[in-house]
């Protein structure tokens, strides 16, 4: 009697071929993108989305062609922060055109499609038990977006990842070895511990780890025009080592917290409209480090 592998095809639906076709569509769609960078952490609330948007803005100001895919489907924030909540998705010749911000950054965010008063719910044939299929459905949605948006010729496509160390690795698997990772932490041992787990998990795969950014590294006090401590960390950032303990990847920079920057994010105003501040300079530095690392052909030391 024949076994599974003796039979070619599945009798008519071509399910595996459909999945393979979608992968080809994604690969073809991203062929014009020079660099794919996923901004992750593992920890939530460390400022991944804010850094993603403002690093994109800093690189855009250098004349690079940049786009962001907000891959946090359950908590999309890029639409509001980038000012594209009311973006119009226009059918192109074969795919959908990518909405752009006022400063020319392409942004795809589910926040442009679904009001903030609604949670993301998928139509489901099964009542309950969403833990058995939800992650698969979300990655199918990611694949559909990647394969159906006109990404065109870009210098950099940034993925703003959701929290969760295991999710970070799932995105690495899905996006493939072309995608490099930039991790974000804050000066807290709890956050560093979670990010260290992400580093350990990602290190087992083929994806390049560009480094990490320490966000909320103090806060910028406008009254005294100085950076003051925000977290009391038992192991402060070690400038000589260039990294805090536990994160064996390069530090691309530290960024202080600025309440004014948070206000801009809520109202969708680009960083360029923020007068020069330590935060702006820190973001510029990280953007340049990121660019230099991407353009370097050698793997950064781990």
């Amino acid at each position: 009697m024949k076994g599974y592998h003796d039979i070619v095809g599945d009798g008519g639906s071509r399910v595996l071929e459909q999945v393979a076709d979608q992968r080809t569509r994604i690969t073809d769609g991203l062929a014009g993108v020079r660099h794919l960078v996923a901004v992750g952490s593992g920890k939530g609330g460390v400022g991944k989305s804010t850094l993603t948007l403002h690093l994109a803005g800093a690189l855009r100001a250098r004349g690079l062609r940049i786009a962001i895919l907000d891959a946090d489907f359950n908590g999309p924030s890029q639409a509001r922060m980038a000012g594209v909540q009311g973006a119009l998705f226009v059918p192109g010749s074969h795919k959908v055109a990518l909405p752009r911000t006022r400063n020319g950054i392409g942004v795809f965010s589910m926040g442009s499609l679904i009001p903030e008063s609604e949670s993301l719910e998928f139509e489901s044939a099964a009542q309950g038990e969403s833990h058995t299929w939800r992650a698969t459905r979300e990655f199918a949605l990611l694949g559909e977006i990647l394969g159906s948006v006109e990404w065109g010729a870009l210098d950099l496509l940034m993925f703003d990842l959701p929290p969760g160390a295991e999710r970070t690795v799932q995105y690495a698997d899905f996006l493939g070895p072309r995608t490099s990772f930039l991790l974000v932490t804050i000066p807290s041992e709890v956050a560093r511990g979670v990010v260290a787990r992400s580093v350990a998990a990602l290190s087992k795969g083929p994806n390049r780890l560009l480094g990490y950014v320490e966000n909320m590294s103090g806060y910028f006090c406008r009254d005294c025009n100085a950076i003051k401590p925000l977290f009391v960390s038992p192991e402060p950032f070690d400038a000589a080592q260039g990294r805090p303990s536990g994160l064996e990847i390069p530090c691309l920079g530290t960024v202080p917290f600025d309440p004014e920057l948070a206000r801009l994010c809520d109202t969708g105003i680009p960083l360029a409209e923020l007068p020069e501040t330590p935060v702006g300079r820190a973001l510029e530095h990280v953007a340049q480090q990121l660019l230099d690392t991407l353009e370097s052909t050698t793997e950064p030391p781990r």
Partner: protein, 148 residues
């Protein structure tokens, strides 16, 4: 999943897929040798599993005739803002916006979950430019205005 006709030792071929009913698909296979037919009846969790892969089930799933397992339209329809109705004219009747076949074809190429919002927005864009027809020129103008 594959099906084998044991007496003939021959792979069975997919014939028809019934529309989803309470989350269950009826997928009929037949043996090309003896003509024996059997139906696979999925439970809602099996239907959902296939649906989650974003694939279609059917004899010619590469065409639009395949059945999207357990679903037929935009998966986020319930969350979308209500579709904007056409602006009423002075007599209170809605003013419809026509779509040319070329524009409709382009709309059909984009993901289902984007289509309702795209249609509404493009029609608003057309009205703002004093036209009640969406053609490919209007789409190109909207693309230049809003897109990368």
């Amino acid at each position: 999943m594959k099906f084998l006709c044991v007496p003939c030792d021959s792979p069975m071929k997919l014939q028809t897929v019934g529309p989803p009913e309470r989350g269950s698909l009826s997928v009929v296979y037949s043996c090309p040798e003896c003509g024996y037919e059997m139906a696979m009846l999925t439970n809602p969790f099996e239907t959902q599993l296939v649906q989650s892969l974003g694939v279609r089930i059917g004899p010619d799933a590469s065409s639009t005739e395949g059945t999207r397992a357990g679903g037929t339209s935009c998966p986020f329809a319930a969350m979308m803002p209500a579709t904007e109705v056409a602006l009423p004219d002075q007599a209170g009747e809605p003013i419809p916006v026509r779509w040319t076949s070329g524009a409709e074809a382009r709309l059909a190429n984009i993901p289902e979950f984007v289509r309702p919002m795209a249609r509404t927005g493009i029609e608003r864009f057309a009205r703002e430019r004093g036209t009640l027809e969406v053609d490919e020129k209007i789409l190109d103008a909207a693309r230049d205005f809003f897109g990368m």
